[in-house]
């Protein structure tokens, strides 16, 4: 079915076009059938194609499907294709299309219940389908330029879907913020794109230096031109990653994006789009492998983001914001894995996270739906009695994310920890990052437990609102995702837990043709070290959860000494480490000042020049000046000055 791979993105696109064209004329049933059906069909085709790919055997697991030449130079038969519209199916993109279409189908289905009462039902589904198409373009593109098209399109869809409820001022503002912040990141990707072109004259992933994809031209001449460029390209890409995958310093848009509908948060701002940055790095990992410095920056960004976002999550009272910061934090784990060169482990965590975070968001949506759009944790409590299915599936998600042994998060998170530690044996800085990540595991257990305890246990604090369970269309996806959140990790059980020799997990071996780092560390921890790391992380998880239990389930008031002690931290975390303020003070306001200076120059130079000229020639020219009208003289002076400057620099610059 690999020949039909083009159908995977085209089906959701066709759905979007049909929904946009049909609009309000379509009934709700038809809208749901078109929207969900097209993505479900895409999942079926994707599954068929991936089955064929697996049957190919490891050496042949990189298949390109050429559609049509896109960017080309020259005319007629002399035309040279720069970037084609072509798809690449390899283990990495296979994993991604299954996640995108699979989880996408569930979220489409869930939306039919969640958005049932909304006016713009067809429009919502059209955007959702368009998003699915864009994300599939991003992960299936066989070259960097086409990937960037998907990269920008998902940003556009995200903007449209965050602002979907534009009656809410905050939603509209959040959409703007997300788009503009991401444009800053996109600048990095675009610049990297041109540097790649300038250095190798290609955008094809196959032809990148050091590509491990099967069938690569292994040309030793394709090494990086200069050390500066070798460092610049990955760092510029990293800027894009911090935008799309919400890392420091550009992460602040993601929590604000929670103003959008909850299924959108689940699909775009948890499971798929925000992992685009992680996917990008894994996709072009040869460029990162060549620069240990860039890898260290990447790893540090990830670890610090994971830690900072987790601390902020501990003081949030809006259930969706807790999950948003949790997403930022988990993405940080993935980026740490990328920095350690463990691309397979990062992709594995990306997959398990897609399951449990989609589950948690959809569960939160079911809660919000059941308590009359209340999002404040302080007004919930005891919901397990009113909405048992939602509560129990949510608890599965909770256990998965904090890493209780046996559930998916346990395997993928520990794999990243182990790989970071292993990298630390070569590059000691990673030992520090490993430590930060380990502490973050404890904080994660704390804030997630807090969330569950406050929402589902204890007494209901919502007053007169009577909570009710969600409709079946919303519960079915929850159950399916709960099963996935348990089982998705089993493809990554480390050999030492099974008592087998070796280090690489099944999923890493599967991904190896696409993600195996060349020339870097390949995993040489002995099994006893791996046992210790796992033991440590489980112990810290239990400690974090236990602390949350003491704080939020315990009887009686907390000692004032403790309250006093944590107060400054609460302020720091509640202020979100003042990153938004730092943006304002360090970037936005200075830039605005420069821009308004330029603007005033554009008008002011004219006035200034006039004043100068007038002052200079006042003696003889007073009469002359009076004869001239308005601004024109000023414009003319500008031109004259410009002309002199141009002619002078024509001499100077030759």
């Amino acid at each position: 079915m690999i020949d039909l791979l083009w159908l995977v993105p085209v089906l959701p696109l066709a759905g979007a076009v049909a929904l946009l064209a049909g609009g309000r004329r379509l009934g709700r049933g038809a809208v749901v059938a078109t929207g969900t059906g097209s993505v479900a069909l895409a999942f079926v085709v994707a599954a068929g194609a991936v089955t064929d790919l697996v049957a190919n055997g490891p050496a042949m697991r990189g298949v390109e499907v050429h559609l049509f030449p896109w960017l080309a130079w020259g005319s007629g038969s002399d035309a040279v294709t720069v970037a084609e519209a072509g798809l690449l199916l390899d283990p990495l993109s296979a994993l991604m299309i299954l996640v995108v279409t699979g989880i996408g189908t569930l979220i489409h289905l869930y939306s039919s219940g969640y958005m049932a009462g909304d006016e713009g039902f067809a429009r919502y589904y059209a955007y959702l389908n368009l998003f699915t198409f864009s994300m599939l373009v991003l992960v299936l593109a066989n070259n960097l330029a086409l990937l960037f098209v998907g990269w920008e399109l998902v940003g556009f869809c995200s903007w449209a879907l965050i602002g979907f409820w534009f009656e809410r001022k905050a939603a509209a503002a959040a959409g703007q913020k997300a788009f503009i912040t991401n444009r800053v990141g996109d600048l990095g990707v675009l610049a990297a794109l041109f540097l790649v072109w300038a250095n190798w004259g290609t955008f094809s992933f196959h032809a990148l230096p050091g590509s491990t994809l099967p069938g690569v031209l292994d040309d030793p001449a394709r090494v990086l031109a200069t050390p500066l460029v070798a460092l610049a390209i990955p760092l510029l890409l990293l800027l894009g990653v911090t935008g799309k995958s919400a890392q420091i310093p550009l992460f602040t848009w993601l929590p604000d994006a929670m103003e959008g509908p909850t299924p959108v948060s689940a699909l775009i701002h948890a499971a798929t789009m925000v992992t685009g940055g992680v996917y990008l790095v894994a996709r072009v990992h040869p460029l990162f492998d060549q620069s240990p410095e860039a890898q260290l920056v990447l790893g540090t960004t990830g670890a610090v983001t994971a830690f900072v976002a987790a601390t902020i999550a501990t003081v949030q009272v809006d259930v969706k914001r807790v999950l948003a910061y949790s997403t930022v934090s988990q993405l940080g784990f993935m980026v740490l894995g990328l920095g350690a060169g463990a691309y397979g482990a990062a992709a594995f965590h990306l997959m398990t996270h897609a399951f449990f975070k989609a589950l948690l968001f959809l569960g939160a949506g079911a809660v919000i739906h059941g308590v009359a759009s209340q999002q404040d944790l302080r007004k919930m409590g005891g919901l397990i009695r009113y909405m048992p299915v939602t509560a129990w599936t949510f608890i599965v998600g909770w256990l998965a994310i904090i890493g209780v042994p046996g559930l998916s998060g346990f395997f993928s998170k520990d794999l990243i920890l182990a790989r970071a530690f292993g990298r630390g044996l070569v590059d000691p800085a990673f030992l520090v990052l490993f430590g930060v990540a380990l502490v973050t595991v404890g904080i994660t257990a704390f804030y997630m437990s807090r969330l569950v305890f406050l929402a589902f246990l204890g007494e209901y604090r919502g007053g007169s609102v009577h909570p009710h369970e969600a409709p079946p269309s919303m519960l079915v996806p929850l159950v399916v995702l709960a099963i996935g959140s348990i089982g998705a990790g089993w493809v990554g059980i480390p050999p030492f837990l099974l008592g087998e020799a070796g280090h690489a997990t099944v999923i890493e071996q599967f991904l190896a043709p696409a993600t195996l780092a060349t020339g870097t560390w390949e995993g040489t921890l002995d099994h006893s070290t791996e046992w210790i790391i796992t033991g440590l992380s489980v112990a810290i998880t239990l400690a974090g959860a236990g602390l949350a239990g003491v704080a939020y389930l315990g009887e009686g008031p907390i000692s004032p000494v403790v309250t006093e002690l944590v107060a400054p931290f609460r302020r720091l975390f509640a202020g979100r480490w003042f990153v938004d303020e730092a943006h304002g003070a360090l970037v936005i306001r200075p830039l605005a000042r420069v821009a308004s200076f330029l603007a005033s120059v554009d008008v002011g130079v004219v006035d200034g020049a006039v004043a100068l000229v007038v002052a200079g020639v006042r003696g003889i020219g007073a009469l002359l000046a009076r004869l001239q009208s308005g601004y024109v003289r000023g414009y003319a002076v500008t031109m004259l000055v410009g002309a002199v400057a141009v002619v002078a620099s024509a001499w100077a610059l030759r």
Binding site: A72, A172, V606, T638, G642, R654
Partner: protein, 499 residues
């Protein structure tokens, strides 16, 4: 005594001749018909003339490239490419103006002929094989524009901006003429190809170069001053910084149809002339002028994109936006390569689609006596006119360079030509400034989709032709972004004289 008439190649300038006839016919027709009843026929007469002219140009596509009229004009694919582009822009302008003339009670009898004659000026600028013809083209275009810019009789601002444009335009023409004189003084010829040959450029279409002084590819001071003054003169028409001061005022004050015409057509004509002059006459001096133009391009992109952030009037905003786009186009000339030239032609087409589309929406939303050009007038448009809002959003995203629109692909071509020519820093500067541009384009979209309408406006039915233009432009913006191969192929074939 026999008087030998030289064999004139009338066919080579047939598209222009048709336009001359069209302009004269509209003048006469207005006299014959007299009153306002002639409005629609005059518009259709102009469109018909432009269509015939364009049809001839398309028919000449496979004719051999040649010089005509004593080596004064080139009849080649470059000329034809721009001729067709200008004619499309002119037809669209007629459709825009038709709506506006009715609304604002303009006098059509002068409007359409002036438009036809200014189109001839633009074609001459693209076809010029001699600096003298370049100058004549610029003047023909400018003099028609001085009147068109001030065409609105009801309001005072248009008159003011017309006077400004006239004064500054004359100033710029003097620079241009002096530049031509200095080039002639240095090389002994005004023929572009002969100047090129004198400076050591290889082959190409060259006529008889009597009097040309071969100087080799070493630039004298006088020649460099001449080149600098040519940059000033043509840069004024293209609205390059620092010769742009007139543009925002004029764009704001002129009737919207003329603003659209200027920001797309006149700009393209100026760049056609710049490309011909710099890549036919001065290719061997590229090391001397490319850094200069790169600096001008950077300043233009940065100024256009930052000052646009502060505009509240959509025509002014689009004015600064078009300054920024002039900067992108100049990047293509800086590359001084065949790829760069082809990318310029591609960008000109893409920019025409995006910008004409955006102006179509501005025209549709205007009403008699009130143009409704504050960006806040677009508040809640998506609720009243969802299709128009969706089209406008498409144009704004395209102008911001978001894929998969032609705005992205065009920038891609232009900047990658610059990168290939070694101007990585210029491409990065362009990218950075285009990122800032997203903010002001998006503000329009924000108003349309995320702000409630201020007032309840009676939804008047938009003029169907202008809406048609917007729809076609919307399709073109997407289609050229997904399938750019056709246009880039034609653009490459049209610039084969560049090496």
């Amino acid at each position: 005594m026999t008087f030998a008439l030289p064999a004139l190649d009338w066919w080579a300038i047939a598209p222009m001749l048709v336009l001359v006839l069209t302009g004269c016919a509209t003048l006469v027709a207005e006299l014959v018909r007299g009153d306002d009843a002639g409005r629609a026929p005059l518009a259709w007469l102009t469109v018909a003339g432009a269509s015939v002219s364009g049809g001839i140009a398309l028919g000449q596509w496979d004719d051999p490239a040649r010089l005509a009229f004593s080596d004064m004009v080139s009849s080649d694919r470059f000329t034809l490419f721009f001729t067709v582009l200008f004619l499309v822009v002119t037809c669209v302008t007629v459709l825009f103006a038709f709506e506006q003339l009715r609304r604002e009670d303009f006098h059509p009898g002068e409007f359409y002929p002036l438009l036809a004659f200014s189109t001839i000026g633009m074609v001459l600028m693209a076809a010029a094989a001699d600096l003298v013809i370049t100058f004549i083209g610029v003047e023909l275009l400018s003099i028609c524009l001085y009147i068109l810019v001030g065409f609105s009789r009801r309001r005072r601002e248009p008159e003011e901006s017309a006077i400004k444009y006239l004064l500054l335009g004359s100033f710029a023409s003097a620079f241009l003429l002096y530049g031509i004189a200095l080039v002639y003084g240095s090389t002994g010829t005004t023929s572009l190809a002969c100047v090129g040959r004198a400076l050591g450029a290889p082959g190409g279409l060259v006529g008889a170069c009597e009097g040309a002084v071969a100087t080799g590819s070493v630039a004298t001071g006088m020649l460099l001053a001449g080149i600098g003054l040519l940059v000033v003169g043509l840069g004024f028409k293209a609205a390059l910084v620092p010769f742009h001061s007139w543009a925002p005022d004029v764009y704001e004050g002129a009737p919207t149809a003329i603003t659209a015409f200027m920001s797309v057509g006149v700009k393209a004509a100026a760049f056609a002339a710049l490309l011909r002059v710099f890549l036919v006459a001065f290719p061997t001096l590229a090391p001397d002028w490319s850094v200069l133009l790169a600096v001008v391009a950077t300043v233009t992109m940065v100024t256009g994109n930052t000052v646009a952030l502060f505009q509240r009037n959509i025509k002014r905003m689009l004015g600064y936006s078009s300054i920024a786009h002039a900067g992108y186009l100049l990047v293509a000339i800086v590359a001084a390569s065949h790829a760069g030239a082809a990318s310029l032609l591609f960008y000109a087409v893409g920019y025409a689609a995006m910008n004409l589309g955006a102006f179509a929406i501005v025209v549709v939303l205007g009403r008699a006596g009130e143009e409704r050009v504050a960006i806040s007038d677009y508040a809640g448009l998506s609720q009243r006119q969802p299709l128009l809002a969706a089209l406008m959003a498409t144009f704004m995203f395209a102008l911001a360079g978001v894929p998969p629109t032609v705005g992205f692909v065009g920038k891609f071509y232009v900047f990658s030509a610059a990168v290939d020519a070694g101007y990585v820093w210029l491409a990065l500067a362009g990218l950075a400034s285009s990122v800032a541009s997203a903010y002001y384009y998006l503000r329009v979209v924000y108003q349309m989709y995320m702000v409630d309408p201020k007032e309840v406006v009676a939804s008047h039915s938009p003029h169907r032709w202008v809406s048609l233009v917007a729809t076609v432009a919307g399709f073109a913006v997407i289609a050229l972004g997904v399938f750019p191969g056709g246009i880039i192929g034609v653009a490459t074939a049209s610039t084969s004289f560049v090496r």
